[in-house]
Symmetry: C2
Subunit: 418 residues, 2 copies
């Protein structure tokens, strides 16, 4: 399948992130107007809320787009998802009557908002290379992988209230830190603030409390995917995470890209998870390839400086797919809801320059890496970190748009009220 051509000419470039094949879902506003639902097409955002209100789009159970989030569409299920995609494709296809033209806004003139209400947020740890790298730093290469890692898509619950949209500044956090030789912890701004390059799966359809779902059922529940940066304060994490896992080290912010790329748009890019090193229990086995081939990169731009691409990797490096993670998430009866967000875990490739965190790129700070005009071990104030990703088709690509955030200095005194 090649490019679906559109009368929106900028959507037909082979390097456009948002061709007609994509049609990702976001929330945008223009000037003083209220945020509303849009889909990206070429250099534009299509106001689908407006199209529905004007009767150019009709969805079963609608109106579903009269709210500034996609949760109502997500909850409406796969027939509505397919119907919306078909209707918008028809409106924008080359040769179609241009009734949608008044509903196009230049993307560089709109403000983008969180595309959905995040119900709950779960973060996984499913990158084989990342787990091995971090485990090696902490425990040596012989004991790098925890014994459960090849059997369980290890995950922990994160904090939904920390999720922000690309473009939001991220303030360096304070917290408890303690060096290995310190007698007691200190209260200080994090000195080892980091990123985690991840994909986020967005749950559309809910599951019932008490009822586990299969991997195939889990895949069908997923509405789409975003890029996700799970900002991490490594020094706070090292001191707090035993025995119950990361907590405040991961609660400062989690940035997602503004567009939910739907499962339908990604379908041509399915790929199998890597070969199993140990057999999985039946409930976790994949009936078919459920991972995706998505090229990813991370850019670091110092304040006033130029960007260096510090990592290039691929979502296909993950040992577990989002469908496997979601199936595991329900195994003990946990109910999943529309708007739940599942972080994949840090996506690192086998090579050093394919690592998805500065912790790995600088090997725990011991081997600072070069950037244009400087070196880095961890993030410095003013640095902008930008994730990008796309799947490459025949003559087109499915892009995610940037997932970007600038780190601003810690509060001078976090408890002072002016």
């Amino acid at each position: 399948m090649g490019l679906n051509r559109s009368w929106v000419e900028s959507a037909n470039s082979p390097d456009a992130d948002f061709p007609l094949n994509n049609l990702p879902c976001g929330v945008f506003s223009t000037g003083a107007e209220e945020p509303r639902c849009g889909m990206a097409i070429g250099d534009f955002v299509l106001d689908v809320s407006g199209l529905e209100a004007a009767g150019h789009l009709a969805l079963d159970g609608g109106p579903l787009l009269d709210v500034p989030f996609w949760n109502e569409v997500m909850a409406a299920g796969p027939e509505v998802w397919a119907s919306l995609r078909a209707q918008v494709t028809a409106l924008l296809a080359e040769g179609a009557e241009r009734v949608a033209e008044p509903y196009l806004h230049r993307r560089n003139e709109v403000e983008l908002h969180l595309p959905f209400l995040v119900s709950e947020y779960t973060d996984f740890y499913a990158g084989r290379h990342h787990a091995f790298n971090v485990g090696t730093m902490f425990r040596g290469p012989e004991n790098a992988l925890p014994p459960n890692w090849l059997h369980i898509p290890i995950g922990y619950n994160g904090r939904a209230s920390s999720v922000v949209v690309s473009g939001t500044d991220v303030r360096r956090p304070w917290g408890q830190v303690k060096g290995p030789d310190d007698q007691a912890p200190r209260f200080a701004p994090s000195a080892r603030f980091d990123i985690e390059l991840e994909m986020g799966a967005v749950v559309g359809l809910p599951s019932d409390h008490g009822q586990p779902v299969t991997v195939e059922e889990a895949d069908a529940m997923i509405f789409g995917y975003v890029l996700l940066n799970d900002w991490s304060a490594r020094d706070i994490q090292a001191w707090e995470y035993q025995p119950l896992g990361p907590f405040q080290s991961k609660a400062t912010a989690t940035t997602i890209s503004p567009w939910i790329v739907t499962r339908a748009a990604l379908e041509p890019f399915r790929t199998a998870t890597p070969a199993r090193e140990k057999p999985l229990l039946a409930y976790l086995q994949e009936p078919r390839p459920l991972l995706y081939d998505i090229a990813l990169e991370v850019g670091l731009t110092p304040e006033g400086g130029q960007e260096t691409i510090i990592s290039r990797t691929n979502y296909a490096e993950m040992y577990y797919s989002a469908a496997q993670q979601l199936a595991h998430h329900t195994v003990s009866g946990c109910a999943m809801n529309t708007g739940d967000l599942l972080g994949s875990g840090t996506i690192s490739g086998p090579a050093k320059e394919s690592c998805g965190s500065l912790l790995e790129l600088s090997w725990g700070g011991k081997e600072p890496f070069e950037i244009a005009g400087g070196r880095r071990s961890f993030i410095e104030d003013g640095d902008r970190l930008t994730l990008r990703g796309h799947a490459r088709g025949d003559g087109y690509r499915i892009g995610f748009g940037a997932c970007s955030g600038k780190v601003i200095p810690a509060l001078a005194d976090p408890y002072r009220r002016d």
Copy 2:
């Protein structure tokens, strides 16, 4: 301060859980009617939604009680909380005109629902004796407490979708389990299903993203408290919890009592946290006693059998108060929202018969304990576990109502669809 006498006679008994001093907040329904907000008084529930609709209650920014949850009142802040309490106290006080009488429903004739929409759920690990006991079982008494435990109120994010109201059956979960001598994990129903006796703090006022709050500010954000049973599958937990903490072992269900006992009702029962074994960092120090003296007990009733009280303890055993936990929760900039629920951690006293989990009561299953007509190490199918609690005043008490759940057998095949 003694009993506030009411014209609802059953509220004046010294052993009534719900005297006029209490006025806890719940959601109830009668017959086929829609759930609505109520407050418990003696043997009755007062329909405060109905009273507000009829103009007998007036709240700033109201109506706030025209929804089947307390979140709108909780978000409205302390002046509204105080005003509601004062107005209902006046309506029910001895000698008052009985305009509220038509709004009373017998408690044993109503159905109770979750009293609030749970935004996010966090569980802590703040019981000194519980942490020591569990640590001793896993690591020996010399290394029982993790090194961070006396410095940080250790917590992890739980799953809000797992929270259910007292009376909801709890189905024994399936999951991955692996004995120490097993070569590989098995998929099986949990054989070591357990309770955790906790208090839950309910966040009323939100905090801003990026802005930590002090312990005093945190206390003022808390609307009230519930009893909380964090059901735990110990065998699943033991295999999954390293390195990122408990996940599916804690996601089957978390049961809360149906009444939110307000901070105002509990104010006379403040008590200080125990003496610090190591000094706390300034941001965690308590400016005044912020814990509560609340007597707690756990009953176990086998199917068709009689109840045995298997534990008696007190909330005052906690090393950290909910205000300290909530302050820590915000330290890295995490935003807290109306409806967030914070579990205290398992509340165990120093003696064996004051332990808040079967894991401790049976010392990891090695020392089964006696109940009427049998013995237990962990929960058996058909067992009902009931938490109860109250603070004792002069001639009255502030009760929480039961927090109860019966464990029903695991699904025969969790993936069969009939």
